[in-house]
């Protein structure tokens, strides 16, 4: 598939702070591509470089086979001539213009005939479900509605690429969930390329065709489909960033691997590839099978919390701690309602081996 956005060796620094270093990135035509990373990792800077609101210190950016910024030749195309649609975190709808005026603005800038503008704006208002609100000012709209106006404005001039910079983080949880599906539906409907920037891994998983995981130093750790990223993490950073993660320290003695300070072996058929002495096994709460039968690792329930629809357990195994959640219905019907202090047994459905040093490097996310 054809690449529509290409970044080659892009660097950007603010004062002494090197935000991006030799960043390469390619986004394919028609895909929904997400850059996912912790705050301050440089993902917003990347989107601003692509949009033209920043100029790279070095490197080259191409959109649709046109060089829009190249430090070696000094080429630079200003934002208004890059043909992109952008949606910002704070919506950035113009407060002095009505919904219609906001959405019509890009078309006016293209000097399209008035009749055509009216038709396109009307159709776009219908597409984002804002019929009847067209004469309102942004101050008379809710956050979700304002973001719909921003989406409509970004889409109306039929841009080659739509850039979305954390567009949902100012919305409440319910609306966020609803809007992410709407964005995905719009993308599929218009067949447009989307570059989406976020720190919320759930949104990224829900809407993306491909995801690039960026670390705090602006380095891309892994690029792949949501399934690949979640099930086959390239390293511990990716694993930890993609959701709640448990880690148990494991020490190797000969070809045996023991959990924590105890003498229970890791109940997993495959050992790690490597010769380190200290390891950690990482796994998701949903990869933990908890039971009363003596199978797998023996542990003690340190904390049992009923959270409504789920049971939340904190378990200690030979000095190591893990958390798991269980659907309350299952817990009740399968006799898995443990009390604090009770013994339980743990087996795994999936497990990842990591060198213990990696855990220290990644630290707190």
């Amino acid at each position: 598939m054809q690449d529509i956005i290409k970044l080659e060796g892009v660097c950007k620094a603010y004062g002494d702070h090197q935000v991006l270093k030799d960043l390469d990135l390619s986004i394919r035509k028609g895909e929904c591509f997400t850059m996912l990373g912790p705050s301050g990792c440089g993902k917003t800077v990347t989107i601003r470089l692509i949009a033209g609101h920043e100029v790279p210190d070095s490197g080259k950016i191409e959109i649709d086979d046109t060089v829009v910024a190249d430090s070696s030749t000094g080429a630079y195309i200003p934002p208004e001539r890059r043909g992109l649609g952008i949606v910002f975190q704070d919506y950035a709808v113009w407060p002095h213009m009505t919904v219609t005026q906001n959405i019509a603005y890009p078309l006016k800038m293209e000097k399209r005939p008035k009749a055509e503008i009216d038709k396109l704006v009307k159709a776009m208002i219908a597409t984002v479900g804002m019929e009847g609100l067209d004469k309102r000012l942004p101050s008379e709209l809710s956050g979700g509605q304002q973001q719909r106006v921003a989406l409509a404005r970004a889409l109306v001039a039929d841009p080659s690429v739509m850039l979305l910079d954390e567009p949902l983080s100012n919305l409440d949880a319910n609306l966020r969930e609803e809007m992410r599906f709407e964005i995905k539906a719009l993308q599929q409907r218009f067949g447009i390329t989307v570059l989406y920037v976020t720190h919320d891994q759930e949104v990224a998983l829900a809407i993306s065709d491909r995801i690039a995981i960026m670390d705090a130093n602006g380095r891309i750790r892994q690029t792949g489909t949501p399934y690949e990223i979640f099930e086959k993490p390239a390293d511990l950073f990716v694993f930890k960033f993609m959701g709640i993660a448990n880690f148990l320290a494991v020490r190797s003695e000969g070809d045996k691997y023991y959990v924590g300070t105890g003498t229970q072996e890791v109940p997993w058929p495959e050992g790690p590839a490597g010769t380190a002495e200290k390891w950690v096994v990482g796994f998701r709460p949903s990869d933990v099978e908890i039971g009363r039968e003596a199978k797998g690792l023996k542990g003690v329930i340190k904390r049992a919390n009923f959270l409504g629809s789920t049971m939340d357990y904190a378990i200690e195994i030979d000095g190591e701690h893990l958390r798991t959640e269980l659907v309350a219905h299952k817990a009740i019907s399968q006799d898995l309602m443990f009390q604090e202090g009770e013994e339980c047994y743990i087996t795994f459905k999936a497990l990842h081996w990591f060198d213990a040093k990696q855990l220290e490097e990644v630290g707190e996310l």
Binding site: F181, Q201, E202, L205, A206, I207, P226, Y227, F230, M242, G243, I244, R284, P285, S286, D287, R303, N305, F306, L307, G308, S309, T310, D312, V327, A328, H329, K349
Partner: protein, 356 residues
């Protein structure tokens, strides 16, 4: 024996009835939560217990002390109630050090200075603040400030601790940690807690009993597990977790999901009292539905209209007739692909009368 008693408590603001004829008994050492959406009257109730709001009618008792009764023209001001209270916005005093914040209520009681020092230090130790004693609260994080507020409330060794959404200004990670801390402190000191929140999992995790409130009217008072097992009505069901309500029609002795021509399987037993209604609701939670094979006699046939991989879970929207049901399964559980026909098994169906 019940310790805190609210008898026929009513509060009106002009024409609006914020709390309507509330009767409540809370035991000594109990953690009691008031749960409801904003504007349901839970905070007003707490503020009446604290003494910040007058009652329009009714009485508030703690032990054998009458605190408020408009009829008897009795009102004990907040400063004489001997309660601890923690507010959502922390309300720690930025012009005093952490130590002075905690010592303030003790100084007001005119205790000997050695005792003030001892009790302040105890409260600071209980909340892991000893190291920060001489700092300004402004230099602490949100969690730190809320600990100061807790320590200040603890210091006087109160009979009752009133907590007004104490965790909702904190980030989720910290919220969970503080929840455990509050629970531990209560075990240690044995005070009663009245806890106001709009977060159902917080209420479930902390409380001995929960009151669910809507528009000033009590919907249900029960233990967390009982509320989960038997939500009293449609509102309670929808408020304590993600929910789908599916319209069901009762025709010729059979139940049909609206817009569907297949009757619901016999395994989904419709309660007798619903059969008198032409239209009622099947209520479900996304995590309490499974996909089953098309031949399963208990299965309900539908069509996947949206499937999203969210990591730990896979989220579906399934259409049955003209209704939509949300389903969430674990990522390892068997489930259909996008746009496929599917068959659902409701593991824990609830039935409620249609909304007016």
């Amino acid at each position: 024996m019940s310790y805190i008693r609210l008898v026929n408590v009513t509060k009106r603001f002009g024409d609006v009835t914020a709390v309507n004829n509330l009767n409540l008994e809370i035991d000594k050492g109990e953690c009691f939560s008031m749960l409801g959406p904003s504007g349901c009257g839970k905070t007003t109730t707490l503020r009446m217990v604290a003494g910040f709001e007058d009652l329009t009618d009714g009485e508030v008792w703690v032990g054998d002390r009458l605190l408020s009764s408009p009829k008897k023209h009795h009102y004990t001001p907040p400063e004489n109630r001997n309660f601890g209270m923690v507010f959502q916005a922390f309300a720690v005093w930025p012009h005093m050090s952490v130590y002075e914040n905690v010592a303030f209520p003790l100084r007001l009681r005119g205790l000997p200075s050695a005792e003030i020092d001892q009790r302040t230090k105890d409260a600071l130790a209980a909340t892991n603040l000893l190291k920060a004693a001489s700092e300004s609260p402004d230099s602490l994080s949100g969690g730190g400030k809320q600990r100061v507020a807790l320590a200040r409330a603890l210091a006087i060794n109160p009979d009752v601790m009133l907590l007004d959404e104490p965790l909702s200004s904190l980030d989720p990670h910290l919220r969970e940690e503080m929840r455990f801390e509050i629970k531990d402190l209560q075990r240690k000191y044995g005070f009663s807690i009245i806890y106001v929140t709009h977060d159902q999992s917080e209420a479930m995790a902390l409380s001995h009993r929960i009151l669910v409130m809507k528009l000033g009217v009590v919907q249900q008072i029960d233990k967390p597990l009982d509320i989960y097992a038997h939500p009293a009505n449609r509102f309670v069901f929808s408020f304590i977790g993600v929910s789908s309500f599916t319209d069901v029609l009762w025709q010729d002795g059979k139940a049909f999901i609206s817009g569907s021509d297949r009757p619901l399987p016999a395994a989904l037993t419709v309660p007798e009292e619903m059969k008198a209604e032409a239209r009622f609701s099947l209520a479900s939670r996304p995590t309490e539905i499974e996909f089953t094979n098309a031949e399963d006699p208990a299965g309900v046939h539908g069509q996947v209209i949206r499937r999203a991989f969210l990591g730990e879970i896979v989220d579906y929207l399934v259409r049955i007739g003209d209704q939509q049901v949300r389903v969430q399964i674990g990522r390892r559980d068997p489930g259909p692909g996008p746009d496929e026909a599917c068959c659902l098994k409701f593991l824990r169906p609830f039935w409620y009368k249609a909304e007016d």
